[in-house]
Symmetry: C2
Subunit: 322 residues, 2 copies
Amino acid sequence: MGVHLITGGAGFIGVNLARRLLEQGQTVIALDDLSLGKLEFVAPLTRFPDFSFVKVDCSSSDDISKALAKIHERTPVSDVWHLAANSNIAAGVADPRIDLTRTFLTTFEVLAAMRQTGIGVLHFASSSAVYGDAGGAAVDENWGPLEPISNYGAMKLASEAQIRAACESFLTRADIFRFPNVVGTPATHGVIVDLIAKGRATPHEIEVLGDGTQRKIYLHVQDLVEAMLFITSHADARYNVYNIGPADDGVTVREIAEMVRDRVAQGGAIRYGAGNKGWVGDVPRFRYATDKLIALGWKSSRNSAAAIRTAVNEIADQPWRA
Amino acid sequence: MGVHLITGGAGFIGVNLARRLLEQGQTVIALDDLSLGKLEFVAPLTRFPDFSFVKVDCSSSDDISKALAKIHERTPVSDVWHLAANSNIAAGVADPRIDLTRTFLTTFEVLAAMRQTGIGVLHFASSSAVYGDAGGAAVDENWGPLEPISNYGAMKLASEAQIRAACESFLTRADIFRFPNVVGTPATHGVIVDLIAKGRATPHEIEVLGDGTQRKIYLHVQDLVEAMLFITSHADARYNVYNIGPADDGVTVREIAEMVRDRVAQGGAIRYGAGNKGWVGDVPRFRYATDKLIALGWKSSRNSAAAIRTAVNEIADQPWRA
């Protein structure tokens, strides 16, 4: 049984990972600055005696190094899961400083604090955004060139690079998980949240950014957590990079809009915009090779359509509105 | 004729680039914080009326944004050449914050200032260090995975990623030059400087880090400058990535040590250490594909051995000691 420190531990993926680890009987310490994460997401975890939460800004050298030293002295940390990041890609397009601070400097400062404290195992939430627009090719982990087209993707790639270099000095183990779009609850943003909000606001007509032909792959957060834990226990290199995703070609925005309409705005019309890019940094057609993960022995139980269908119902039912 | 702003303009490569641009009749504004660059390197350029120098720390958001706005208002800048970086790889291994600040944050802040000021053309000095240890494969510009093993390489890759993302918003043109080892004068560090210093200190016995079998490619700084200018005028994409180097397999440390010995310590012995890595982040065997640059129409006039031979003589003759 280990002691797992999760940065971004009050965020969407953080709380799902924490719950699973706690159910396994592990100890979890969640760190979050609560800029995107919420205490109400963490609340259900407090019934586990081995769970604790610390509010800390991981992009502050002082704050994270002090917090980590204090935690580690009391309860020696076995694994750091670095999930803290700006998950709002569009915000980072408008102001690159957001991704610099929240997506990259959090990684840099968490690494610096780990080095100082003497913690050697890091699991990192990277993103398919590091690949940029590969023109529809099925990108695998050795794909090049890496040309991120969003500041978010750029700062995830920067984080990977810094982690890789740290494996030459103090890190004894690093896992890089390249996430696809992840859906589920507690949801704060993303295409399903947006469409449900629109469907509730104007049930007669749901407005969609772009022409609805964008096709993307989606993974349910429960499957994502399962995949991360599987890689952590089965991959055996010092530095492991894995695409995580379902083995399908994804679903279109049109299909998602229809599922949302049928759930929250039955009989409503769906109005599409022009073009197949929703925003700067959005990749219209993205394919993802997960052969490496399949070869390791893990395959998603849900495909993209099933992930979306599950998530639409879960998000429509969640008590908070994003 | 353009107005060229060079960050790191008092550094080794900066002053060579500046001189060539000035000789072409262009206007050059050199920026440098003088942490590694030196005013004595810049001094010979002051005879050109179209040269000016501004001391500024490009990693400071305030300093660079104010400096760039002031310069651009007086003399509209056509091109920014971003060369400022920590060129001392070993220093960055010891303290990752050096590469964060000098190699990456300079890029981030120069981009932010360009966006604010409305300058759209960037030429960037990247490095073969972004590739990491490719195990002897001849890496081309589309090589993957990119796994830098030094913080320097990590922060050069981070810089490339941020520049690539900026091409989706305000940059109208970016050139990424991936440099090999570059030699020539004014030299402040590197294998030739080290060996000449040793040869002068103890002419009877020159001590070499590692077993001397490390083989690397070297480009003379004059050829590097020529290649950068060639790419700038001949490549026509919005985002251009080019390996720059000679089309050979390089020279060994042993060959370099012998050239240095014959120049500054005739008849001296050379004593080798153990292993084929000089320091953390050093890649023992590195091969580099320059086919893309050759296809564009440029080929180095000197091979690696000729570049080293020229540079050994130049550095032995330079008036300052590093």
